[in-house]
Symmetry: D2
Subunit: 351 residues, 4 copies
């Protein structure tokens, strides 16, 4: 049994990690770290775990934890891991970081968008961006995994094949993303109160949301050049789910015509046909967040607009699963040589 | 592998059955029966099943089905099973009926409340009421299981120990139950439209809801006499979940005092301590439907009101799992000698 | 124009008061008191008021306010008004208090249930309980109005005629009430976060909610004796609306039979036929919270259960209107001799 | 008193018309037309109107109606009005049509997008597109008003000043719109059931939604040339509200730089400063649908993205008010010389 520690176990992503790991046959959770709930029973913080988890919350001592477990998940605020990480720790334990600390290679970009100083830039280089479908092989040998953001996972996977194969002009890419409220975390903040969110909808972080540079970096690798995109997140009155609607200008073929449905579909299939967790839907079926809820799937599809010469791409995932804890488990499976889907054979729950 | 057929596979309960059976290691679904969607791919009716279920919907020919599978789940409208059941069928296949056709022993009571003629009363006697925690042994040897209603399961389990042990006067029992909207089914009816249900709440079926006689019959067995109760269901703007709040007058002890918290708790523990799927919560913690969502748990608790001499009992479950498909699977596990929890080790999903 | 001051203008009830008073032709709001937002533009706290309210939030100095306005609404936490009220103030200004400070005549009862010391018990006697349909005449001449609680208004009006006329045994009264989340206020508390409330339902304050003694006192007056009731509030995933489902044993008539529908209906009509804001629905129509949303109506109805000898009464209102700000305006109208419905001719918004 | 008739009074927009007209001091509703509910009391179809509207539903006989009222609102399915309109009718009564029948000047475009034959193209020319802020003067003298679509009103008003003044390249315009579910109407259709919509989000009508040509025509007038845009609607789990997020490339100034915030703001102010119902929010405040709920306001704002050279424009309105019934009343006010805001002085309801 692989021994697991979680720092930040009482956030929504932490709780989802616990849910998923409870169904994983090869692991055992040894440490429920939560600075705010030390000595409190985990099941008192999350009553869904009553009679399932008997453990008590512990602190976030990475040093001690590194000596007790094989892998640490850090589902912590930005800057935490960068502030405590040492070579000593990394030499003893694998780390899967659900924060953004090691997602962005250019430390200046990180510091500009996150407005905090990065306290261990020396580990950025070796960190592997844990978007499993893109970096599977690199992940397998890594010590430090930067688990991607929720919006990012959805935004990237939805457009990746077309950027990679040059079907669209990446500089025309506009990503309009909508998220359920669990992405905002469990902090007691006025804007996240039920009455503020329910029956309401808004954009936020317009032109400056922190997931923007992460999307640009990864899609830039696919494009083979630096790109800038518009990324606009929206808050939607539902618990889980991200829907990304993405727009880009299709590059014309040599004969001056647009690629056909079949040609675009073939490109998606090239990349995702063998990917268990990416489902390219059938023609004209639009992804819906409810169809992936509770599961590790990303549903994607697209529609060509002959009139404007653009393509509309759509992707849907559960922000707490494929957008956070599920992908973290998928990364763990790769790291430890388990079946990549172990613990993730979750059928979406409907309704 | 036990071979399973489902009639009514495209209702919400049917879809939930499919979800649960996909995670059951000893069964295989051979037949997705759905009169309305014959020849349509199941995954086109429920896109959450895309790339998970490849089968096409079939009709509801019980005769043919009985020759192909070991157990049939009928998640069908009232009267369907009673209209087609024969000794021939029952001699070849186990049946777990999610409708009310065989739940009530007195056929006149059934016909009065359901306002339809019962077309195979000869099978009522042998049918076993499939509330696993109460009838475990009888279920194991049955051919025909009457799977309990969603409200009923919640209402009965919440009060059962106190009725059985005579702590409350069952004739004072008032059950105020609240349900998410999936209990109303997938029929396209105006009152179930999003805009009619959302931001709204109402009672319905006041004094005449069909689950009333089912509750009265089962709690009457526990009381050792016929009882009548008030049962009022309410529609709540959420997908899943039933919460039952139940009120009854506590019988005084010989010394004229009310039983204490500890005494009542001990009675609940007597019946539920070893029941995996019934969780008696800790003192003063009120059950919440979200804490059991997606799982087969029923959470129960109670509070004594010294001022009025009454006890307030509360129970919460997921109407599609313990209130329908989950209990059906639990019944199947008992019928076939599987671990009772096989396929049901579902951690509640939060949020 | 009557000059109005509001203390606690930035709570949900305060904001609703502003909404209603904006549509009142005889008043002018002079003071938007809000301790937490002093010097901030009111419309920045509530963007719905952008270009409607230009004022800036002020403090809660009652002394100063009393010299500037004709009436003060205090939509403040328990204990605030009792802590600052003086004869000096009361001699200069009318006060409509939306807190519970002056609702309960027995100060020991208040202190026991609210667990705070009452700091101006000398004003309790003269305060008039502002349930307009019951106390209309007394309200007109009062200086200090104790505006009823949201649950209380709904619970009392639903049962009042039957208690008053002796049709039910008030000691058998059980009130199962369900409320939208705005009743919990705008405080940034974890249990009120969207993800905690949405798709969830729970009881709370079981056997000890503070509205209990208020209900008991008022219905006790109607019964002509002290009574105790069970009152259980529940939190429902919607913004607005309270639904009270109430159960009581019907007193039999001299001939040993239960009263008929028509007899009970006549009693409701006796009290409410001329009440604009109480609508007794037609036979078999259950009240729904959505049908009164945004308006000052209370919809009530009932159903007799011949089997159990009980009656099920139901009432629905908008907790922020008839349950708080609307009733406060109705009280103001009575105090100042305006048409009782001025500013309250609000058609419920559906959907 | 102006006499009003409504055809299609039992749809959501029809019900909202009734709500608004009840608060209008100069009109009287004489006819509640509803083909599906003839002879049924209107208040039985919409219980919110109990004791407010005593009338019974009538048929949709336009001829008869034209002789009884001064203005007819048709809140009817596409094709209805075009199928029954005659010169005779138009000569006797003003018509405000909430359907799309007379919104599009090019009948071929209408027939292509709506896939129905237009049965009275002879009236298209004289019909005035009733977007009050754009066509105020023309509306005043019209006989036939084509009341704009909900998405259209929001989409056009959000971008109009920048298109009109040439600040953006209209051919780069991408409109990503999100709507509450009341926009889908009150028809009993499976995709609009609570459990299908709740906790879910999806795009629909991608590249072919019928509001596209209406947006293109109107913004084309502003641009002074034909334009094509991408318009993608989404279904959101809320009752009311549309949020449009719009993207376009900013035209550079002569000096090669982008316009500044102040310059863009000045353009919005030029068009909307004196418009009561369009609120240009303060810098960096994003429109939220809840802030306009129940009111006739459109809230708009924008953000310049220096990195991509694009501007992100946002607009929010209540689809049943400014997006349908409110705008219809605003048009009626213009037609009959009333104060343009009569009956529309509605403060948004929050929460």
């Amino acid at each position: 049994m692989v021994k697991v520690g979680i720092i930040g176990a009482t956030g929504y992503a932490g709780n989802e990690l616990v849910r998923l790991l409870m169904g994983h046959k090869d692991v055992e959770i040894m440490w429920y770290g939560s600075r705010n709930y030390i000595d409190k029973k985990y099941a008192e913080v999350y009553q869904n775990m009553f009679e399932i988890v008997e453990d008590t919350c512990l602190d976030d001592n990475m040093e001690e934890l590194a000596s007790k477990v094989d892998v640490i998940f850090t589902a912590t605020p930005q800057g935490f891991l960068a502030g405590v990480l040492t070579e000593e720790i990394l030499s003893r334990v694998k780390i899967i970081d659900l924060s953004a600390d090691f997602r962005i290679k250019d430390v200046r970009t990180y510091e500009k968008w996150y407005k905090i100083e990065h306290r261990s830039p020396q580990f950025i280089e070796e960190a592997v961006y844990g978007l499993c479908e893109l970096n599977r092989d690199k992940i397998k040998g890594a010590r430090l995994i930067a688990n991607p953001g929720c919006y990012t996972t959805c935004s990237i996977l939805t457009a990746y094949p077309l950027v990679k194969e040059g079907l669209i002009d990446p500089d025309t890419l506009i990503i309009d993303a909508k998220s359920g409220t669990s992405g905002a975390g469990r902090g007691a903040k006025l804007p996240n109160l039920f009455c503020e969110v329910n029956e309401n909808m808004k954009a936020y972080g317009v032109t400056n949301h922190r997931h923007t540079p992460e999307i640009e970096e990864q899609l830039g690798y696919a494009a083979g050049k630096e790109i800038v995109v518009n990324f606009t997140p929206h808050l939607v009155p539902m618990n889980r789910g991200i829907l990304a609607t993405e727009y880009a200008t299709l590059n014309k073929k040599a004969d001056g015509t647009l690629p056909t449905y079949e040609e675009v579909k073939a490109v998606y299939d090239k990349y995702y046909k063998n990917e268990k967790f990416v489902r390219v839907l059938e023609k004209d079926i639009c992804p819906e967040t409810k169809w992936v809820e509770g599961s590790n799937y990303v549903d994607v599809n697209f529609k060509i607009d002959e009139r404007t010469g653009r393509i509309v791409m759509m992707g849907a995932l559960d922000n707490l699963v494929k957008g956070a804890a599920g992908q973290a488990v998928q990364n763990m499976n790769l790291l430890f040589g388990f079946d990549e889907a172990e613990g993730l054979n979750l059928v979406p729950m409907f309704p």
